[in-house]
């Protein structure tokens, strides 16, 4: 019974999304604003996972929605709006990283900043322990991701951090599903060789 309710709820959400996207495509500004409310956190986090800077992630998220606003009429499948947003975000992240690499050729200081732990300190963090755990988690994630190839890393992030299914990942990365599966398999095999991170996750589950 609960499963049926879940299925109905998912179908309703999907239908609502399609309606909102179609309204936005017709020029309805408030429909687009509702889509922004719905996906802002997802897009922000997706960017943050890759560049680990809150302010840059906020700027890129703003760019992503601006681009989406201008190009909403080109959305072919309204049900895949989230994946469409993510593909815009992925392009923006690539641009950002390219510019960052170019700037780092001329500025030695920026390289030094990159080599520092990526986690930003938040003054309003309630407990120091939580902050330590957070820093440890991101350090281990960074260390694990550094061992993956570019493609493996992206597929792994899209699958387990951004919760996209294989079909959606294939759409976002413009690759076929079997290629995605191969990279996912390799990434998972490398993840299994990370006892520290796995222990941390087991503790989180318990």
């Amino acid at each position: 019974m609960a499963s049926t309710d879940d299925t109905n709820r998912t179908a309703d959400t999907s239908t609502q999304l399609v309606v909102l996207v179609n309204q936005a495509k017709d020029g309805n500004r408030s429909a687009f604003a509702r889509l922004v409310d719905q996906f802002h956190s997802d897009v922000f986090r997706m960017v943050y996972y890759r560049i680990r800077s809150r302010s840059d992630a906020e700027d890129i998220a703003q760019d992503v929605f601006l681009k989406a606003f201008q190009k909403i009429s080109t959305v072919k499948d309204a049900a895949r709006f989230r994946g469409w947003l993510f593909s815009i975000a992925l392009n923006r992240i690539r641009d950002f990283q390219r510019k960052k690499r170019f700037r780092s050729l001329f500025k030695v200081e920026e390289e030094n900043i990159d080599s520092q732990p990526p986690v930003e300190t938040e003054s309003d963090e309630p407990e120091a322990l939580e902050q330590v755990l957070k820093e440890d988690f991101w350090r281990q994630i960074r260390s694990m991701l550094d061992k993956l190839s570019k493609m493996e890393r992206e597929v792994f992030l899209l699958r387990f951090f951004d919760h996209l299914n294989l079909n959606e990942i294939a759409g976002v990365m413009k690759k076929n599903e079997s290629t995605i599966k191969t990279h996912l398999y390799r990434a998972l095999a490398k993840f299994r060789k990370e006892p520290g991170l796995r222990q941390l996750l087991k503790e989180a589950i318990e």
């Binding site: 986090r45 930003e120 988690f137 599966k181 998972l188």
Partner: protein, 169 residues
């Protein structure tokens, strides 16, 4: 069903099952369905991966800035960089057409081909071309040619006669 004798999923097959269970051979899929040990190993791995996403979400900051949308309607045409490029392309195309048309007209005038115009203009153009052709043959006026002994029609006749004598019958 007795599963004791059956082979359990190895590490690689377990990873494959988490990546996409449908990619496993049919026999392994059936085994996974029946074997409690393999199923719980797979579920434990999947829980680990789900926890990874949850912890990442918990440890990621929240956005503080709100998204600001432009004033115009969503999806409405806009003077974007792309449109600007189209406009420049169109202007360049027009410029090329003008240059090609102008160039071909000028060339036609220089070669002396008659163009549409009044009869007096045509006559004037024909005289001009005659003068030009004469200048091409002999750039110096006849007086100078005589002084420089370059232009002697009778000598030329004798010279040609010498080269190719006429056969007298």
């Amino acid at each position: 069903m007795n599963l004791d004798n059956e082979q359990h999923l190895d590490e690689q097959q377990l990873i494959q099952a988490v990546a996409d269970e449908s990619d496993l051979p049919r026999s392994l899929q059936m085994h996974l369905g029946d074997c409690h040990q393999c199923r719980s190993e797979k579920e434990s791995f999947e829980q680990e991966m789900a926890a990874l996403g949850q912890v990442a979400e918990r440890y990621a900051p929240q956005p503080q800035k709100r998204i600001v949308l432009p004033v115009q309607e969503a999806g409405s045409p806009r003077w974007s960089f792309l449109n600007w490029r189209h406009a420049v392309g169109a202007m360049a195309a027009v410029a090329i057409v003008v240059v090609v048309f102008w160039g071909s007209t000028t060339l036609r005038n220089l070669t002396g081909l008659p163009t549409a115009g009044s009869p007096s203009e045509l006559l004037e153009a024909r005289q001009l071309m005659t003068e030009v052709n004469m200048l091409v043959d002999n750039a110096l006026p006849p007086l100078y040619l005589e002084i420089s002994a370059e232009y002697k029609p009778d000598d030329e006749k004798d010279f040609y006669q010498f080269l190719i004598p006429q056969i007298e019958t």
